[in-house]
Symmetry: C3
Subunit: 343 residues, 3 copies
């Protein structure tokens, strides 16, 4: 129940390199949408389709692009990219749950673990031998950090995160509840009539500034490591299989999945519930739309898709039934064309 | 290991407004399927295709519709909707794990939390400041309730549920293990060559009588709240992104997902692993079949689908290869038609 | 931080029935890939496409098939199936987190639970009345075992596993973090304008040698049990609904799902994010490719698929738009053919 900070418009302008129009002494106590903001709040206008909301906004001030300034009836902060500027301003008003430095008495921390200065180990955490928790890192309640793991400085495991074993997180990594990192990869050899498990002897390495969503799972490698470079952003319920490599600055939306040993480039964007099969390679700057399945390597940047469009179920049933006969259609079409040409 | 209750058929008939045929003093000690029920058990017949099982049932009594009464060799309770009647009778025989009122000694409850009369806080629960746990609410083992959350009266978090922060649950809400509610929405702004996180400052509001499945995730809003109205039913492993709105009485099957700011109507049914893209609107009483992707708003009630039918892999490969050339087919077909007309 | 074991090549050859070529006294201290292995390590060659790596390998020895022996510049162990042999050798070098027998002081174990000899109950575990933990079973940190559950001998719940209630695990079952077994099935009856919950009174039975992935969910049955026979292998984030039956030796890849009361045969393979609708039956030895949806029962062994191939988004948009008109195409094609025949 922390008291909220407040900042003057002039302070915000200077801090984030924005141009101020209006009363620099106006105090801003929070952020809100154009539609809901009050006099003490700052709103933003990034997507032009909301420009019509400017006229009636009750906001104390608005972050916007130069082009919208003339239409803004209240004070303004002018930014080249209002959404980025908003992100930075809003961070000042974020109310994170408090994390007291030190080890909560209910936590179970092995004597062979190293806990950095200012780190916070929350209630019921379990920290195993051979682990290193960096300076200022926060383990919220119920986090489990298994043997031979490293949590980089200023990283935050929000709550109930499990690092199974041989997991290294960089600095400022943010992991949301329910995430499991370093679980066994799914490796099996078939012997006559049953499965033999392949031991998963590798680890997981996650770069600085990555974010891992709630209930996302990242398996450790079979022999080498599963790797996420820096600034990779994973939404909720994503599955990353063993030995996957994900290049820096790639973002993946919820429920997407990458199968074993696939290699994703940098600055890629993977849509919700999209999938990438194993052992494929995606170049840098590849975008995969939602629910698409990547079945071959992609060498060129660009946007790729699979699937069919939504239809009324009755219409869809007809399309779907015809899909099964496409090869036949193609042959019949060719035959007609041949007949035409032979005439 | 509680002893099971028993009820006479006459009691059940009166309690649930059913018509009794047979021995009202018969004691029922449990429920079972038509195929497996014994003399002390009650079965039900709802789906007509199981009517053939009536003749051989060993059940003590059967709940059924009037139309099947003549074929029933044992005692019966006649209901307009036998499945609904069965649901209510079966609830009498449900054996929920015991939940002793009070706070388990291993729980960590902040002095700034308010715990209602008769509420049960289980082993290893962590309850933060500013939270309100309603009367008779049950937090099973390992639940985490973060700052500024409310759990309504008679709600039950079965076990290992995480409410991150600013989450409000109504009354009689049931949440299954592994669910994470109130995690950060996936909001990012791209600056030059890297991502800047958008703080997620909103909350989550969940209405009375909702049910949230195991390992389901519901993100809190970026500025306003993510909202589920009353009696929304979510199966396991569902992903609800920030600022989604789901109308009352909508049910979603396992592994479905809704992207940010989408608005789903009331009495909708979303099939397993179906998806809804962001910022779309679905009218009331829309049904989406399993694995379909909703890519545009739906204004009319009805059933909608996407995808292709299952085929033998060799046949499917042919259909799939031809799908890539559909535009070419369409042009060639039109050309043939034009040639025909020009003859 | 256990010291690693070492084994001579002669020992390994004898233990696993492999033919040795070279120096039987060579000590092997670990396993690695052909590309990365050093002199004290054993590599393997199973997939012929990596045969070119043999010449330059730094491995002390390689497990391979007879056919590759002549090309191997270092010591070798000859196996009929090198991947299976590798799996068994590698298991000798697996470093599992230590699990001390006995009950950790922070665990909450009901007096009515039975804990087998040599079993290990880790930090913060909660074990309810009526449960039986078998000999040598390991419950890692934060496992919850609800009422009336059985964990078979030598089974291992790695960490943070929840068995809700009425769950029986066989022997040597391995369950990864975040898995929830025995949660309520998703059963609802619709009454006028709202849902009535169907009590889920059954349990879950899981056979010997099964493996359950991280954050996978398996619901308990409505009346009868949900059943996995022996040696079923489930990857991460899989959803198994109530009353599903999965035959022995079936393997399912990540994010796949099976709806209620479906029955899957033995030795099936279900690809990543594939789905099976409710109440269907799949024969033995059925393979479903990734992201396919099974919408009807499958009586014959074989491989089955649905979906469309990945395309460049611009091309895909054209294919997708035409898909909606396939029925019209079919009619027009037939009309042209008819016109042709009538000529």
């Amino acid at each position: 129940m922390s008291t909220h900070p407040s900042h003057t418009l002039a302070d915000l302008a200077e801090r984030f390199g924005l141009r101020l129009r209006g009363d620099g002494s106006r105090r801003i106590e929070g952020v809100a949408t154009l539609a809901n903001a009050g006099a003490g709040q700052l709103a933003f206008l990034s997507n032009g389709k909301y420009a019509a909301q400017l006229a009636a906004t009750g906001a104390g001030a608005v972050i916007l692009r130069e082009e919208h300034l003339a239409d803004c009836p209240v004070d303004a902060l002018v930014a080249a990219d209002p959404y980025v500027a908003y992100a930075k301003v809003a961070a000042l008003f974020d109310r994170l749950p408090a994390a007291a430095p030190g080890i909560h008495p209910s936590a179970v921390v092995d004597a062979g673990a190293s806990i950095g200065a200012g780190a916070s180990i929350g209630p019921c955490c379990v920290v195993a031998a051979g682990t290193v928790i960096g300076e200022g890192a926060v383990l919220g309640p119920h986090c489990i950090v298994g043997e031979d793991c490293t949590v980089g400085a200023q990283s935050r495991l929000v709550a109930r995160v499990t690092l199974v074993t041989r997991v290294t997180l960089g600095m400022r990594v943010l992991v949301h509840p329910g995430a499991v990192i370093g679980s066994d990869g799914f490796g099996l050899a078939f012997e006559r009539d049953h499965w033999v498990k392949i031991p998963q002897l590798g680890g997981v390495r996650i770069g600085d500034d990555c974010e891992i969503g709630a209930n996302t799972t990242i398996d450790r490698g079979a022999l080498d490591d599963t790797v996420l470079e820096e600034d990779v952003r994973l939404d909720n319920q994503i599955q990353i299989a063993h030995n996957v490599f994900i290049g820096a600055h790639t973002a993946m939306a919820g429920c997407s999945a990458v199968a074993g040993s696939a290699r994703i480039g940098r600055w890629c964007q993977i849509g919700g519930n999209a999938g990438v099969l194993g052992h494929l390679e995606l170049a840098d700057r590849v975008t995969i739309t939602a629910k698409s399945l990547v079945t071959h390597s992609i060498r060129e940047p660009g946007e790729y898709s699979s699937g069919t469009p939504l239809q009324d179920n009755r219409q869809w049933r007809k399309s779907a039934a015809r899909f099964k006969h496409l090869d036949d259609f193609a042959r019949r079409l060719a035959a007609l064309e041949k007949g035409k040409n032979d005439e």
